[in-house]
Amino acid sequence: MYLHKELETLTRPEIEKLQLERLKKTVNHCMNSAFYHKRFEEIGFKPDDIQTLEDLKKIPFTTKADLRDTYPFGMASVPLEQTVRLHSSSGTTGKPTVILHTQKDLDEWAEAIARCLYMVGLRKTDVFQNSSGYGMFTGGLGFQYGAERLGMLTIPAAAGNSKRQVKFITDFGTTALHAIPSYAGRLYEVMKEMGVDPRKDTKLRTLIIGAEPHSEEQRRRIEEMLGVKAYNCFGMSEMCGPGVAFECMEQNGLHIWEDNYIVEIIDPDTLEPVKEGEVGELVLTTLNREAMPLLRYRTRDLTSILPGECPCGRHHARLDRFKGRSDDMIILKGVNIFPIQVETILMHFKELSTDYLITLETIDSNDEMLVEVELNDMFTDDFAKLQSLTREITHQLKDELLVTPKVKIVQKGSLPQSEGKAVRVKDLRKLV
């Protein structure tokens, strides 16, 4: 039932004791990071100031802006030669953020994911297919190493090519699949087209879904369609990637591994802790990382901690379903997108006005992004030039966002104006 029984079944006092021990170690280790060293000096903080968990509050929050400002290696707490892997998340204003790993970090990360997968009933006899994007996206390599760590036959199917995905599922006897929720719906459609009945013709019984907001109804529908149990997972590249928090078989909240992270939930406006059980922004402190520990990192994800004990016997706090973001980040097909990224690209085109509208919609169970732009001046009397403009905008947006939007030129003045607070994003996606 437990892969790491000792760690998973720690009682609350035991968790806190371990956290304090690891926090002291982490804060000491942070002195090796140029960024934290300077920050500690600025506020007159010394690692010895951490005597209780409460003392963590003496340290200021770390933000994504800090990660950008120290790009690429200013956060590192070890010399570069000790690092073995780099992941990067897309940049909001040109500068991406970099996450570094030592071999120990990668091992711990794989262990954490293995723990999660074991928790939902997966064993070394399972066949695990990962339809997540590989490369910089941590859902790819993260699950690959975690699933292998558990000893499963692991198929790096990667994203897309749905017919091939279905063929892998049937031919290789895939029992567990990791997919973003909207893609699970898409796979079901493709199975239908191919005449594959997921219940009769496949061995699929476990689905790991995450990286994209989805409702309880959507989960139940996926389970019903594919004849599986679907478990929600949470992670972010700043915290390694997937494996930060995961649902147990109770499917009631995501256990966040408190031996690896200290959890705070704050009011994003006042930055004070919210009352117990209230929704706020998740703030995480890493307790088990070498290359790049992060202290009080503002995730911008809104959630709350579920009250009470979980019947599964784990005392690690349970995060409720995520309620959205405290910034304007959009999650589309598992990819994080900030409207400012779209804006920055569009502003390079002199042909366009400063107004634009991003619409997210579900078309044939696929989530799509429509970007409407206004022609500033009619710079041509030629269709070909208008079409090549559309193509060029699409191309540049795709390069920046890693998803391909549909770009539509509309009449000047028909989009919400930029004076005041214009609506730039309309989310019409069906979370069903």
Binding site: E374, M378, L386, I409, V410, Q411, G413, S414
Partner: protein, 145 residues
């Protein structure tokens, strides 16, 4: 050798054409010829008028995406095969006609078109003594609709 043409970006939805025509009406602009080309999402409304600059300013003032460009206009006798004769000259010279529209005024056919190569087009018009229309001709009442 060319005349001015207005090109207006219009979205493919009810009311957009009416908006353009109303603005031109208020500005007292006489339309000599016009045509709409469309794709699924948008169209280009091309207009020939006796006062292109005035029309351009009026549309611009109403925040309409409009372009003023040069096009060729050739007058032909209204007889069978005349258009074919003219266009074949360009075709034989390897010049592409990007778009064309035509209308009739006082028994004369008028071809308005844009080509891939303006210089070569001029040469051919001069060489074959084609009856081209000048901007000034448009102000002449004889061409008014």
């Amino acid at each position: 050798m060319t005349i001015h043409q207005l090109s207006v970006f219009i979205e493919n939805k009810p009311g957009t054409l009416n908006e353009i025509l109303s603005i031109l009406k208020s500005a007292d602009i006489q339309i000599i010829a016009s045509t709409i080309s469309d794709t699924v999402e948008y169209g280009i409304y091309r207009i020939i008028t006796s006062e292109p600059q005035k029309a351009f300013d009026a549309l611009k003032a109403k925040n309409i995406s409009v372009n003023l460009s040069d096009v060729f206009a050739i007058s032909l006798d209204n007889k069978v095969g005349k258009a074919a004769d003219v266009i074949s000259l360009f075709a034989n010279a390897g010049i592409n006609i990007e778009y064309m529209y035509s209308f009739l005024i006082k028994e004369q056919g008028i071809l308005v078109f844009r080509t891939s190569d303006s210089d070569k087009t001029c040469e051919i018009i001069l060489k074959h003594k084609l009856a081209y229309i000048r901007e000034a001709d448009l102000s002449n009442q004889s061409y008014m609709l």
